[in-house]
């Protein structure tokens, strides 16, 4: 297959030296070094199942959107990795390596398994709500909010809990309450399907969001609408 051969030939040298740590749905993630720092290299490799034109347009759009959204968040004081460099020919982004962290997904799973300290999870929910409110007030739509895309930097006590948002691959800029509502809906679905019996925790998250955001009431109304929409699909078209 011609397409894949030419693609394999152009694997950049810095990737050959880096260590792959995960293959997500969107990209391969490597750990490497860049100008003496430990970095995460996110490579959006070509998806062979897609038509080449679909693939190229989509990949370029997502790389650009991701970087723009991260920068916008950081400027507003929201924790997101530093962007060191972007290679637009290979669609690679060089990001700050957030060391000593655990994903919120793993954290909730282990907290639920050990059944200790329910208060701790409440504080986490508050923090997530607060962070998302800040992000939405900046008109950044994450687009792929899941508990796998939030990191908790370990060693931080409850009061100084550091939450870092990652994986802005589907993000874009929008002021529409509809888009923010859908953003929260995506998180709600991912949250409840991955962590069963956490409905009250999510409610708390939304309360914290409402308290921290200046434009929350419209957004939450849209969230209610979107929730119903999923259930009202007409079979007759």
């Amino acid at each position: 297959m011609d397409h894949s051969d030419s693609v394999k030939a152009s694997v950049p040298s810095y990737l050959k030296e880096a260590q792959m740590i995960k293959q997500g749905a969107e990209a391969r993630v490597y750990r490497g070094t860049f100008l003496g720092r430990s970095v995460i290299i996110k490579e959006r490799f070509p998806k062979l199942y897609r038509h080449p034109e679909v693939d190229e347009k989509l990949t370029r759009r997502r790389t650009t959107q991701e970087v723009r959204s991260i920068l916008r968040c950081r400027r507003a004081g929201i924790n997101a990795p530093v962007v060191y460099f972007v290679d637009y020919t290979t669609h690679c982004i060089f990001l700050e390596d957030i060391i000593h962290s655990v994903s919120v997904k793993d954290h909730i799973a282990s907290a639920q398994a050990s059944e200790q300290n329910p208060q701790h999870l409440q504080t986490l929910a508050d923090k997530i709500g607060e962070t998302l409110a800040q992000m939405h007030d900046e008109d950044v739509i994450h687009g792929d909010l899941t508990t796998s895309n939030m990191l908790l930097v370990s060693g931080a006590e409850d009061q100084n809990m550091k939450l870092v948002l990652i994986d802005f691959g589907l993000s874009y800029i929008s002021a529409l309450p509809e888009d923010k509502g859908v953003d929260l809906y995506v998180l709600e679905k991912a949250f409840l399907s991955t962590h069963p019996k956490t409905e009250t925790l999510f409610e708390r998250l939304l309360k914290s969001y409402t308290a921290s955001s200046k434009k929350s009431s419209v957004v939450l109304k849209k969230l209610d609408e979107v929730r119903l929409r999923g259930r009202k699909r007409s079979m007759v078209g």
């Binding site: 034109e53 991912a190 079979m235």
Partner: protein, 365 residues
Amino acid sequence: MNFPINFIQAFSKAILAVVMVLQPASVRSNMTVVIGFEGSANKIGVGIIRDGEVLSNPRRTYITPPGQGFLPGETAKHHRSVILTVLQEALDEAGLKAEDIDCVAYTKGPGMGAPLVTVAIVARTVAQLWGKPLLGVNHCIGHIEMGRLITNAQNPTVLYVSGGNTQVIAYSERRYRIFGETIDIAVGNCLDRFARVIKISNDPSPGYNIEQMAKKGTKYIELPYTVKGMDVSFSGILSYIEDAAHKMLSTSQCTPEDLCFSLQETVFAMLVEITERAMAHCGSQEVLIVGGVGCNLRLQEMMGVMCKERGARLFATDESFCIDNGAMIAQAGWEMFCSGHVTELSDSWITQRYRTDEVEVTWRD
């Protein structure tokens, strides 16, 4: 009144022997036979399953002229006119009689109201006539259980795509949880409505004809691509391509084959993407495609490429099981019946909206 012990034992054994001879064949041989009735859209099917074996699975499809979709009232009328014939076929092909059936399963929902009611009435009547328990089955779960039976996939991420549904499902803690879905219309609905715009024949199905035309398409037309996290949206691409069809075909900028090709490439890429996301999230190494759109070989091909890249396995079934059929309802019914479910007559209503995750899956751990 002191009968000797051995006399009582001999007498009870005799009674037991007589009772056993009078039982239906299935109980005697410890097998469970379930008949399933399906008619939630334009396909009406009756199928019989005995302990994981498909004994019969006849089906009829209500096909409308090109440019027209199927409406609830007319679809129900079609089902009414053929259902008893199909039922007789099912019994004859399986070589069974009414008394051989252990349970009557039917589609409780989701689907179109009038056709669902038509089929439910027949199921209820037959259950009462034969004196058998009833079971209301979720249509989506029917697809999943049939897929699992036929392919033997252990714990796959399921992509369920049809004219009425588009969901990515994974099993977890006694529920088939919906990880991703369409936030507006189903992918099959998008394809069917596009087929109407360019007046493609609905025989055997609009999706099949789009697939054949797409094979001849060469030019890729850029279409909107809408994935929101784990969810997808098709109404935008539908209105865009309906518009594009009128403009581009009248100015001969492209052929209908090119449009079919471009539409498939775009919507299927979206489906493969959300499936891959769910797999990454769950750490799954198996994919199962079910539902009418799952027959599409291009979709299977694309999914296969994605799976190969991840080292995962792809499972798919052929059109007799992908497309709505009675046996899938029978199979889900079989699982439910064997784990103790039964639907009381008073609970045997139908519903147009029935979420896949509403059912407690007691037959899996």
